[in-house]
């Protein structure tokens, strides 16, 4: 994977751009955070070119080593559905799928995601139809402020792929890395159970 990463000559000033078949334009990025430490040799670390596929769209991005996948998704690609919570892998708000597995995007260096396939909350809906989990969260009122919701839904999607009919205890264990500070977990667990039922029905419908 990282074999494809190349140091770029332009020092990484370009914003993320989609390659070839991209449909939507990536939006602008915010100015990077000012670092107040005295400069060290690492401050002159060169930028690297990485390519990654996000929700099926290919991107080429120039990144410095200290940028995380979360930084790039939100600030370079403008995909702000992935939330920044604790930035320490404790809260799960930044959960995305990386090559089919859920990870905390705040704990993945962007360089490390080179050549990977990423799915974010923006990539779950199909042809304008909400994913059954998104619909169930809305219908069950499993959302209050909504900040934890994208991470919750992506983790729940991975859980249901591993275990299509989880018990409520299994849902709670599977969601152990996602914190909610307002709705509470009862409605979230209920919504995931409901989505599991809906998705089972959909599979049956397709099979018959």
């Amino acid at each position: 994977m990282s074999g494809e990463a190349r140091r770029s000559a332009d020092g990484g000033r370009r914003t993320g751009r989609k390659t070839g078949a991209a449909r939507r334009a990536g939006s602008g990025r915010r100015p990077s955070t000012v670092d107040r430490r005295p400069p060290t040799p690492a401050d002159r670390a060169p930028a690297w070119q990485i390519t990654l596929s996000v929700n099926g769209d290919p991107y080429r991005v120039s990144v410095r080593p200290n940028r995380t996948l979360l930084d790039v998704l939100r600030e370079e690609l403008g995909l702000t559905g992935t939330k920044r919570g604790c930035d320490q892998g404790e809260c799960g708000a930044c959960t995305v799928h990386l090559d089919g597995r859920t990870v905390n995007a705040c704990l993945v260096l962007a360089i490390d995601a080179d050549g990977s396939e990423v799915t974010t909350i923006e990539g779950l809906a199909r042809r304008g139809e909400l994913h059954p989990l998104q619909r169930a969260f809305v219908e069950e009122g499993a959302i209050q402020c909504g900040y934890c919701t994208p991470g919750m839904i992506l983790q729940a999607a991975a859980l249901l792929r591993q275990n299509p009919s989880p018990t409520s205890a299994q849902i709670r264990t599977g969601m152990a890395g996602n914190l909610c500070r307002c709705t509470g977990y009862a409605k979230i667990v209920k919504a995931i159970g409901k989505a599991a039922e809906v998705m089972k029905g959909q599979r049956k419908g397709r099979a018959s």
Binding site: T40, A42, A45, P65, G89, E90, R101, I111, A176, G177
Partner: protein, 306 residues
């Protein structure tokens, strides 16, 4: 994960918990063990090895670790390889094997269920998808959850140094909180679990303040093998109650040669509590931890020796 990284109150308990960006560093991706060793030697302790990153990146973000360079070893094939059963029954686990892969590995679940069971209690699914067993051992938190089960199974570690490959008991690998025999110029290659004695029964117990995303206040792994009603082999290992994970030979000696009746187990649990040298911190006082050790060891032994 990070709260588990120290032997004492975590940094997040006392002030700076958030910085907007990781501090800058040079990123180097090693593709072979010799290259990783060469880079480690070049930076002489000013570099950190990166595998899953679930501890290292948090330490960098909270300022506990400020490396000049990060040496990514994720793609070094010799450090991967997953779980393999060698001829003779020894199990070799590549250092880069993720915690999730260990949790779900069919061979481990059949041969040494203690390890996947303990791993399933760690952190969160997201962290287990990324974090590696080698990383958990090298981070050397006294509360590392992979350590007590592996010590109870008499595991060895294979180290790559500039002088070659050497194997040492895991018990000698931990030298202090956050410190290992690796020093700054060696790489952990694999964990080796000898074929367990016939009829081995083992149990892991962990007590935390909460169930999810929690490091152990006390963890316990025990392993016992009986022959004709008498205990012939016993291991009692404690986590989070000393600067390193702690095996308790005195407790084991009280079990071997005995039938494992309630009084035997109680005596062994008492030895374990005496051997514990817990600190007082935000998650529990020293006395409390010692008391929890006594209870958890007794319960774990009741499960496997009763």
């Amino acid at each position: 994960m990070e709260a588990c990284a120290t032997h004492g109150p975590s940094a997040s308990a006392g002030g700076r918990v958030f910085r907007a960006a990781l501090p800058p560093f040079e990123y180097l991706a090693a593709t072979s063990v010799p290259e990783a060793l060469r880079l480690l030697a070049k930076f002489r302790g000013r570099a950190v090895l990166l595998a899953g990153g679930t501890d290292v990146l948090v330490q960098m973000r909270t300022g506990k670790r400020v490396p000049e360079a990060v040496i990514d070893i994720k793609r070094v094939a010799a450090l991967g390889g997953g779980v393999k059963v060698e001829r003779g029954g020894r199990i070799a686990i590549g250092a880069l094997t993720t915690l999730a892969d260990i949790e779900h590995d069919a061979k481990l679940r059949r041969l040494v269920p203690l390890l996947p069971e303990a791993v399933a209690t760690m952190a969160s699914p997201q962290v287990r998808n990324r974090g590696t067993i080698g990383g958990n051992l090298c981070n050397a938190a006294p509360s590392a959850d992979t350590a007590p089960p592996l010590l109870a199974l008499d595991a060895l570690v294979r180290l790559h140094t500039r002088k070659g490959v050497r194997t040492m008991p895991l018990a000698e690998f931990f030298t202090g909180p956050g410190r290992t025999a690796l020093g700054t110029d060696a790489v952990l290659g694999a964990i080796l679990v000898p074929k367990p004695p016939r009829g081995l029964r083992a149990a892991f117990r962990k007590h935390g303040v909460r169930e999810a995303m929690e490091c152990a206040v006390v963890s316990v792994a025990v392993a016992v093998a009986k022959e004709r009603g008498t205990i012939r082999h016993a291991r009692v290992v404690l986590g989070a109650v000393a600067p390193t994970p702690l095996r308790v030979p005195a407790a084991e000696a009280l079990l071997v040669g005995h039938p494992g009746g309630p009084l035997d187990l109680l005596a062994a649990a008492g030895e374990a509590a005496d051997a514990a040298r817990p600190i007082t911190d935000v998650r529990g006082s020293s006395d409390y931890r010692r008391d929890v050790v006594r209870t958890l060891v007794r319960r774990a032994l009741e499960e496997v020796a009763g």
